[in-house]
Amino acid sequence: MLALLAACRPLPEPPPSKAASLDPVLRHVGEDGTHFAASVGDTRALPPHFPPQLQLPEAVVLSSGQIWDQEGGLASLLLQTSQPLEEIAAYYRRTLWGEGWDLLSDLEQANGIRTLVFESPPHPEQSLHQAVIQVGSPRRGPDQVEYRDILILLSTVAPVGKAQPAATASP
């Protein structure tokens, strides 16, 4: 009987493995309460509200990060892709402009850098998002394929009345 009880007793928690105990996201909280997060090679440092359509399908994630405080924040995602520039621009026009975001800018610089700016539809109770998508100039990899980096910055402003008063946020 004792042996049976012992067999039913929950096993003690195994010690966490070294890999599991390491948080892959680098985090820091500044003295003024500003939060910082960064992660290399994945999207783990992105906020939950980061629109999934900003991540270009089949692009490789190089890094992610964000800075935020009580008034809003800025999230970043760095991608790499061999897709042609026009296809990249068309994808973002389709998924953002096509789904209700406003188109604020679409400019190509002389060095081949293209910058698109979109803004989420206005909503009285939802955060306003502005997305800057900067597609870098092409460079040839060792496989002779042309790659481009894509830097995506998403700024989020907390809805009016939702942000904490600045005085309570001070340390």
Binding site: A90, R93, W97, G98, D106, L107
Partner: protein, 103 residues
């Protein structure tokens, strides 16, 4: 009025009413495709957008839902100055006052 600048064909509709737009739509003298359409934000007939296969638009004033939807569904850019501020076009692309101020 039509003009060509930096390889782009423009149709400057301004405040032309729907009757004028219908006449333009039926005109064989105008090009088959327009790269940029500018108008003041009043009504634009869909026949005109289709006839000229309008590739992009700039509107000075508010735009009706039907026209906005046409541009969104075709995935063609439409800059609405009433929402995004002054629109600057160059051969490099389009910049709006809203993007400049926020940037």
């Amino acid at each position: 009025m039509t003009l060509e600048a930096e390889g782009s064909r423009w149709l400057l509709l301004g405040s032309a009413g729907t009757n004028v737009q219908a006449e333009l739509t039926g005109s064989p003298l105008l090009p088959a495709q327009i790269d940029w359409l500018w108008w003041d934000g009043g009504s634009v007939i869909l026949d005109l957008l289709e006839r000229f296969q309008v590739q992009a638009g700039i509107s000075s004033g508010p735009v009706g839902e039907v026209v906005t939807t046409w541009f969104r569904q075709k995935q063609r850019p439409l800059y609405i100055a009433d929402r995004v501020g002054a629109v600057t076009w160059s051969r490099r692309g389009v910049q709006t006052l809203r993007a400049q101020l926020d940037g």
